[in-house]
């Protein structure tokens, strides 16, 4: 223990004490006014570093929330469109059932055909829907490409899919992505059908010829075999059954856009096929909804004067009923899938909300000031400052010189 103290020391010590308390009080006032438990990273480096990381979690998860909202909007739009598609297909199905009644005449069927044509146009419009951002909803990645293009070769209507098969995913959680839509190929074209045909243009064709997609117009004659349409010199073509290696028709004169019919199948070719150009028609797994409707219309519009014709119409309508039923089923599956995704989105959003809440709670525990405690400490500090000031004044008044003289 020191036995004496110098006057300067006493002065310095009191001064230091007061300054120290003032710095403490000032820090506390700054903390209380900002609500932050630490003013500088050095006060708690761990918290400083951790808080920055948690902030990123909050910000990133918040962004995922925004993504889910946008994905929900897009899926909601698709769901609405597909509801319309279902309604439209259901109506067509009802019409097909209604048409498949022996008592209907050609004119009655024509009236039905007219309505189906309208449904066809409507479906085309639905397929070309544009989303809130101005992108085609069903075009895959090719957002500014008109999804569907209706064309006609001769008497044959058909629709080209001009989009691509891309499927966009959005991030809705850390390493969690969900498709915010479906492409038109999936929705409108890959519809399973028992009577589907596929018309393939040979890669080696050199002419400008183009074929309409073939369909079964007379199920009573259809074989399910693969056929080849092959162009000869002199503007004629042969039709060969490749499955049985039999010539079905030889040396038929080519007429631009005219229907080409063989073994209950119908197609049409336009343009100028070159000698040696080949098209193949074979049975396929899927038939697009537009072909289904076109085939239905073609059946309705063909005359049913003879019993044989009536039998053909009846069989063809049977196929249309099956196809439409399959199409309704297919769209229903798509809608179920969208519903599942919407549920997943809602679940993910709740999860994200909970995560943000929890992270913010942690962040607040780490970083935010405990006001009660801070104010208590401020009181203490102010008390200590006052005590230091009082004792300074008291001690500085004490001097032996006061008693001299």
């Amino acid at each position: 223990m020191v036995l004496r103290v110098s006057t300067g020391q006493m002065f310095q010590h009191s001064l230091q004490q007061m300054q120290l308390r003032q710095v403490e009080a000032n820090d506390l006032v700054r903390k209380i006014s900002s609500g932050r438990a630490y003013l500088r990273p050095s006060e708690n480096p761990f918290v400083a570093a951790r808080a920055l990381e948690l902030e990123q979690v909050v910000s990133r998860t918040g962004q995922f929330q925004e993504n889910t909202v946008l994905a929900e909007a897009r899926l909601g739009l698709e769901e609405t469109i597909l509801t319309d598609v279902t309604r439209l297909l259901q109506r067509s199905f009802d019409l097909a059932v209604q048409a498949n009644n022996g008592s209907l005449g050609d004119e009655d069927r024509q009236a039905i055909a007219n309505e189906v044509r309208e449904r066809f146009t409507e479906l085309l419009q639905l397929g070309n829907t544009v989303d809130a951002n101005g992108d085609y909803l069903f075009a895959g990645f090719s957002g500014d490409t008109t999804t569907l293009n209706a064309r006609r070769i001769g008497n044959q209507d058909f629709v080209d899919y001009q989009g691509d098969q891309g499927r966009r995913l959005v991030a809705i959680g850390e390493s969690r992505q969900i498709a915010d839509g479906d492409n038109g190929a999936e929705v409108f074209f890959r519809v399973p059908s028992n009577s589907a045909l596929w018309t393939a243009t040979a890669a080696a064709n050199t002419g400008s010829g183009e074929a309409a997609p073939a369909y079964v117009f007379d199920p009573t004659l259809a074989t399910g075999d693969t056929y080849r349409i092959q162009f000869n010199a002199g503007g004629t073509y042969d039709v060969v059954n490749e499955t049985d290696a039999v010539n079905v028709a030889v040396g038929v004169a080519y007429v631009d856009g005219a229907d080409i019919e063989f073994d209950g199948l119908r197609t049409a070719i336009t343009g100028a096929p070159a000698v040696g150009d080949v098209w193949r028609v074979r049975s396929a797994a899927n038939q697009d909804i537009f072909t289904t409707l076109n085939k239905f219309v073609a059946t309705l519009e063909s005359s049913g004067g003879t019993p044989a014709e009536q039998a053909r119409i009846s069989a063809a309508l049977g196929q249309s009923i099956d196809d439409l039923d399959g199409a309704i089923e297919h769209i229903a599956t798509q809608r179920t899938d969208i519903g599942g995704r919407l549920n997943a989105l809602a679940a993910q959003r709740d999860e994200n909300d909970a995560y943000v809440l929890q992270t913010q709670a942690t962040l607040s525990d780490l970083r935010d000031l405990d006001f009660a405690e801070a104010i208590g400490r401020l009181e203490q500090t102010v008390l200590a400052l006052e005590a230091a000031q009082r004792s300074f004044a008291r001690v500085q008044n004490l001097s032996l010189f006061n008693f001299l003289g």
């Binding site: 020191v2 006057t7 910000s59 990133r60 993504n67 990645f141 850390e174 596929w198 001097s399 032996l400």
Partner: protein
């Protein structure tokens, strides 16, 4: 009779001296470094064996002084100043990083939110412009922080020069005091010794010193590892010189009797020690750390961006500008070699500095902490995620200072100016032919090598049977025949990769083609967005944010450490100061008491003379 009056007279004189000393103490009660003085009296012995003695004399005026305490005061002061200086500097850096809105974090988050928003709507012009703007905001945060640290380095150099000048001034004033002390007759005056102690204490605030008092009363002062700063009546000076390794740093040189030498590494203590310490530890580490975060963001974002396709169908370019590893040529190099750095693997890049040296036969590239090094004859050396290529002839002893990430915080910029040039899409897309009869499904496709010249060519995968396929070009020519089919196996061709699942049948075809027109494709944006939460640095264990947080945490921790050390040293200094003051400082009450004490003794002596006079008068009247 003469005895009593002469004794009383000696008492009068002695008490006068004592009162004068008390007066001197009172006068200097607030003088910094003043050592209180106390008069010591001794009784004069009688001339013969018997008798009352010959009064009193002033034996000495004693300085209440302890040499050990004074040197301890200097030592603790020196260390305290060093730590305080470091603490002060680190605190400045800490303050720069303290503002939660001012750091990299909010800008990084805003940038990645813009990435996500663009991935929600890749064709949107406004989302594209927003991403470019957020990119600019992000790089400007890097520029701001880097410029603050660069300023600190520059001001630090200025302070080092100031310190050196002050040390030189103090050394020359110590020489003056030395000369005056030697010239004083009858021992050094107490006030000169106090002045010398004060000058030494002031010197210790700038740099740690050691002293030896010579037989002639002069003092020798040494710094560093025994370099003489003051030698009797001579002072030697310190100076500064540009660091040959790094022109932005200052070295401290000593101009001694035997020439000039670099003593930077030997200097400890004081503000100079603290500044040097800060300038070569925390500050460069923080700058390298910041640069590394910038480099990581720029490199990884660029790599992914180049693998994308922009709105016009062109392949993506660099999104950010960045900088190659910084190589500084040592000013003392005699060879003509130049060195260029190249980043090879961002995940291995550290925040350390490196030195490339040439011994005449081999180059050695070593990390400053000694934890890794590589030696080779050249011309290319690779270490810790970067490579150096030497061109030209190096001379033995040549060296180069290498900082792999330092330049990036300043160099980072947004390279893209056209919003449509943001590569949000993947360059290829895939499709299954609508007429396929099997259940095969093709993946969306990814890019393995964006530099492949045929990447964007249309390629058809045509199944010959359920078990093998051909790859055909757009014209039907076979590119690769009869490839065996394994469901889900990678098919790598022309720089892309796809896989096919399910059971395709003979005749089924799948196409991989350029994604031109794929304006709604966000796949590359998703991949870019994933970078934010991907482990990239430190061998793939740290995200950008984590690396930045680590930097903030590290600066915080070192600042805290410096503060704790400085506070502890302050306590130590205070306690030494208290001991010194309690011994040497003036207490006014004490002086007041002595004042009364000596005054009374003076009055008593006066009374004794009066008594002698009375006795003498009595004798006279008796005669």
């Amino acid at each position: 009779m003469a005895d009593i009056s002469s004794n009383a007279l000696s008492g009068l004189l002695a008490q006068q001296r004592a009162l004068a000393t008390v007066g001197q103490n009172i006068a200097n009660a607030t003088t910094e470094g003043y050592t209180r003085q106390r008069i010591e009296l001794s009784a004069r012995p009688p001339v013969g064996r018997l008798g009352p003695g010959n009064g009193v004399e002033v034996a000495t005026v004693r300085r209440q002084y302890d040499a050990f305490l004074t040197s301890q005061l200097r030592e603790t002061r020196s260390l305290q100043q060093q730590l305080e200086t470091f603490n002060f500097q680190a605190g400045l850096l800490d303050d720069v990083l303290a503002d939660p809105q001012g750091g990299i974090t909010p800008a990084l988050q805003a940038f990645y939110s813009a990435v996500q928003e663009l991935s929600d709507d890749p064709a949107s012009g406004s989302a594209r412009v927003a991403l470019l703007n957020e990119g600019e905001a992000l790089v400007s945060r890097f520029h701001y922080l880097e410029s603050r640290m660069r300023d600190q380095a520059r001001f630090g150099n200025q302070r080092i020069e100031d310190q050196v000048n002050e040390i030189n001034a103090l050394a020359s004033s110590l020489v003056d005091i030395n000369i005056r002390i030697q010239g004083a007759t009858g021992g050094a005056p107490a006030e000169l010794l106090d002045q010398r102690d004060q000058a030494l204490l002031a010197l210790s605030e700038h740099v740690a010193v050691s002293t030896i008092e010579n037989a002639n009363g002069m003092l020798s002062v040494f710094i560093g590892t025994g370099q003489s700063l003051v030698d009797n009546a001579n002072a030697f000076t310190l100076g500064t010189a540009q660091d040959p390794r790094d022109a932005t740093q200052l070295r401290v040189v000593y101009n001694g009797a035997n020439g000039t030498g670099d003593i930077t590494d030997n200097i400890t203590g004081g503000e100079l020690g603290g500044m040097l310490d800060y300038q070569r530890t925390l500050l460069p580490e923080a700058r390298n750390s910041l640069g590394r975060v910038a480099l990581a963001i720029a490199e990884t974002f660029n790599d992914q961006h180049r693998e994308g396709m922009d709105l016009s169908g062109a392949l993506g370019g660099d999104f950010f500008t960045t900088a190659a590893p910084q190589v500084a040529v040592n000013a003392n190099n005699t060879g003509a070699a130049t060195v260029t750095g190249l980043l090879t693997d961002i995940s291995s890049v550290t925040v350390q500095d490196y030195e490339l040296t040439f011994d005449g036969a081999n180059f050695t590239l070593a990390r400053e902490d000694g934890a890794s090094s590589v030696t080779a004859a050249g011309p290319t050396l690779t270490l810790d995620g970067f490579s150096l290529t030497v061109a030209g002839a190096a001379a033995a002893g040549d060296s180069f200072l290498v900082r792999p990430a330092r330049a990036a915080a300043q160099a980072i910029g947004v390279a893209v100016s056209d919003p449509n040039a943001i590569a949000a899409a993947v360059p290829v897309r895939t499709e299954a032919a609508l007429g396929n009869t099997g259940s095969g499904a093709i993946s969306a496709g990814e890019v393995l090598d964006v530099t492949d010249a045929n990447l964007l060519d249309t390629v058809q995968v045509r199944f010959n049977s359920g078990t093998d396929f051909d790859l055909l070009d757009a014209n039907g020519a076979v590119l690769a025949a009869a490839q065996p089919y394994t469901p889900g196996a990678d098919i790598d061709f022309n720089g892309w990769r796809v896989d096919i699942q399910g059971a395709p049948r003979a005749g089924d075809t799948f196409t991989v083609r350029s994604n031109q027109g794929g304006i709604a494709d966000n796949r590359n944006m998703l991949l870019l967005g994933d970078l934010q939460s991907s482990g990239i640095l430190d061998g793939g264990s740290s995200t950008y944010q984590e690396a930045y947080s680590t930097m903030v945490g590290s600066v915080g921790a070192q600042t805290r450490q410096a503060r704790v050390n400085a506070d502890a040293q302050q306590v130590l200094f205070d306690s030494v100061q208290a001991r010194r003051d309690s011994l040497s400082g003036v207490n006014l009450d004490e002086e007041a008491a002595y004042l009364i004490f000596h005054q009374q003794a003076y009055q008593a002596s006066a009374r004794a003379i009066a008594t002698a006079d009375t006795v003498f008068q009595a004798l006279l009247s008796a005669v």
